[in-house]
Symmetry: C2
Subunit: 459 residues, 2 copies
């Protein structure tokens, strides 16, 4: 029997789907959806090598190539990125992080002061403005943030530690941009800069931020290793990388199987084959760098005179650290390490959408009943679990079989898929529910679905 508020029964079922504010696959801007049956130019620009995440992200309509090393982030990728940023914000604010936002245009003078205008070489994108003043597009903000803090007169030791961070677009003119979002020329990075009153305090900050990174990757369900790393052009006296082991990774790591030692080979002098602590044979693996921490000491604070006033009211250089997370790189790296050859798997917390609902095929005998029941599942879910509004999508391409749409849903990596199949005609109606990350299929009533999804977290 038609429920209250439903449209009259004469309206075709898939027009009913469109009548309410429900998200419909047919209306989503996803090249995947637009080019059914085609493999949309996933090999990228001519000659560019592809990896699994690049292929899957192009195929699935998450990104689209623009100029070399630059991508359009399409709507599902933006959703995933915004969720990831919320999770990162939570972790950063839990360790006292305060979010700011610094300019991309960075004066040559600032970079000359630190010596990096020359040292960074062709990785720095440079330009002049209408007055012929020289700038670079900042790939990182040590100089810029230190100038800000140096400008605050009367900064007291009582106000330290200062832990400032941003999530912004960065620029780096990579010699070989490749692997999609894994190595691009424009990318989003979370960069935190910390200012402490003593070396001891700065080391506590360092450990605290490393713990926040651990917590982040644990919550995302990403297997990572923390390795000793070279300080490179950033500088400082201690550095670690957070790496996701993956064949496509560009870093080579040496790991002690018992966890006593882990390092990026680039920081080792010569060959090392056994663990310096326990003597075990080290194993080698490749990794994708997703986070990088640096203990900077006074390298930048001394250049820009970033001082605070001590308890004795003496000016003293701040002890600094900097801490990066590759936001867009984490999206791609997650897909790289979690997915199968042809199906995206997301960390549940940041999947663009949590649930895809698949109504019966047009003209099938379950059509009428199935569409009505699925609408009710959608509406009751958003009522019972309002935080999931926006995370539910109906695949209304009812000209396609359920099987074809399930295959697409599989490819795109919705954590849950609910199908109105033959058993919707039972009393009570039963739906087929795919829990993708658990790898199981359940048969549940509407109430069972609500119960199952009540455990889903969105940031």
């Amino acid at each position: 029997p038609p429920s209250a508020g439903r449209l009259p029964a004469k309206v075709p079922p898939n027009l009913q789907l469109r009548s309410a504010k429900r998200l419909l696959v047919s209306q989503l801007f996803q090249p995947f959806n637009l080019q059914v049956g085609e493999e949309a130019g996933w090999e990228g620009r001519a000659g560019e090598p592809a990896c699994r995440s690049q292929k899957l992200m192009l195929q699935g309509g998450l990104v689209y190539p623009s100029v070399p090393g630059c991508y359009y982030y399409l709507p599902p990728a933006v959703r995933a990125m915004e969720k990831l940023v919320k999770v990162v914000d939570g972790e950063m604010q839990a360790v006292g992080g305060q979010k700011l936002n610094m300019p991309s245009l960075s004066s040559a003078g600032l970079w000359r002061a630190s010596g990096r205008w020359d040292r960074m070489g062709p990785e720095l994108l440079r330009l002049v403005d209408r007055h012929d003043k020289a700038y670079c597009l900042a790939p990182t903000h040590e100089e810029v943030v230190t100038e800000l803090v140096a400008a605050q007169s009367n900064l007291s030791y009582k106000q330290l530690p200062l832990r400032l961070y941003q999530v912004t677009r960065k620029f780096r003119d990579e010699p070989k941009p490749r692997f999609g979002l894994l190595r691009s020329r424009e990318f989003y990075m979370k960069d935190m800069y910390t200012f402490d009153a003593s070396e001891e305090a700065a080391r506590q900050t360092y450990d605290l931020v490393c713990d926040a990174y651990r917590s982040l990757f644990d919550r995302l369900g990403l297997p990572f290793v923390k390795v000793q790393a070279a300080t490179g052009s950033i500088g400082g006296t201690m550095s670690h990388e957070f790496q996701l082991p993956a064949d496509v990774g560009e870093d080579r790591l040496l790991l002690c199987p018992d966890g006593h030692f882990a390092a990026n080979v680039e920081m080792l002098n010569g060959e090392r084959t056994s663990c310096p602590t326990c003597g075990e044979k080290l194993t080698q693996t490749k990794g994708i760098e997703v986070g990088h921490t640096f203990y900077l000491g006074t390298k930048y604070s001394s250049v820009f005179n970033a001082v605070f006033y001590s308890a004795k009211n003496k000016p003293q250089l701040a002890e600094m650290g900097c801490y990066g997370l590759g936001i867009t790189r984490i999206l791609a790296a997650s897909i790289e390490v979690l997915s199968t050859e042809d199906s995206i798997r997301w960390p549940s917390l940041i999947a663009p959408y949590q649930l895809c609902l698949i109504p019966p095929k047009r003209g099938s005998k379950e059509e009428e009943e199935g569409v009505t029941l699925l609408e009710r599942v959608y509406d009751d879910l958003t009522e019972a679990l309002p935080h999931l509004t926006g995370d539910l999508v109906v695949d209304d391409r009812t000209q396609l079989t359920i099987g074809k749409r399930l295959k697409d849903a599989n490819k795109l990596g919705y954590p849950y898929v609910v199908i109105a199949g033959k058993r919707v005609c039972e009393d009570p109606p039963v739906f087929e529910v795919w829990n993708q990350n658990a790898g199981e299929v359940l048969f549940l009533t509407k109430e069972g679905i609500i119960e199952l999804l009540s455990k889903v977290q969105v940031p």
Copy 2:
């Protein structure tokens, strides 16, 4: 009597304030806070004229000047901006907007194809990469988005309208950057691009997006006028601006007092003094442009061949529109039009923090009792109204008088200020509550405060 969970009475009261995860003014990175008693270089760079919002935003530690026309957005400004973006997202998604994110590096070829590589002149920031390829930093994305849509083969009329938008950093080499965030060289803009199957449909989209802009400014409580405007370098056949009347505005507007006519003088040929509809004398006012809409027709779709397939399966050029909102400019313009000479007033919905709590002065006889009670207000508020967590700040600078801190809170524009004054010793304890936007002072119990704040909306 000390409540359960409080620290032992021997701990100094303002250490108690620090013991829990409460936001404390003394720990916030606000130059305002850091430079008590100083007016932190608000006049900006040498010779740059200042306006009210620029002065207040610099004084209040919302922004700090970097290279000319570029600003650090400091933590409270980032909070306000993130709230504004949420409100904008809601309005855009309510009209079917899908959010994407396009690169800043934009190839010269694309801009040459549209003719804007030359036409934009020195406003375009240009650079070459390591391979000597020429790019600009996109100030707007008509070319870039049209190329994306043109690349989607098989786009069907059934998938239209497409309403794609982004909120990203834009670059424009202004000849005279000034007035802080009102005219800067780096800024955040929301830009939507729409693709329709017919002129009629495109005009419906145009009206719909204009209505969304009205709704946005109404929700922010900002008085605006929608005026006819010139199409400028963007082009197209129809354009409107959303303007906030203000003396510092750089646009001159002619308005019919009865609302029959409103236009930017730049789009009128010669002088016009009376309304073309009703003959009333037009009044002139200055305005800050905060939104701009363009009906583009096929100006860009014809250049890049952005076609869809009609019901008869014929390729047809999409009818386009584009729609901008100056995100960072809206922040400054809001402050410009709502504030007094020396006190920031925010649209309530996007105030960085909703409430400032002021405990008694150190050493006063209310200190012990007041701190304890204020802690309870803070904790009970976050429990009863969890969506306000993060919106409450304690001004723990208890070395300062209540009066001094109230003055600061006034300047910074918290919509609500709760003071633990002499009446906290009454039974039940009574707090002094300033409702800044209503311009009233109330005396309320803790329960009264929770009741009052239960009406506060955060996006």
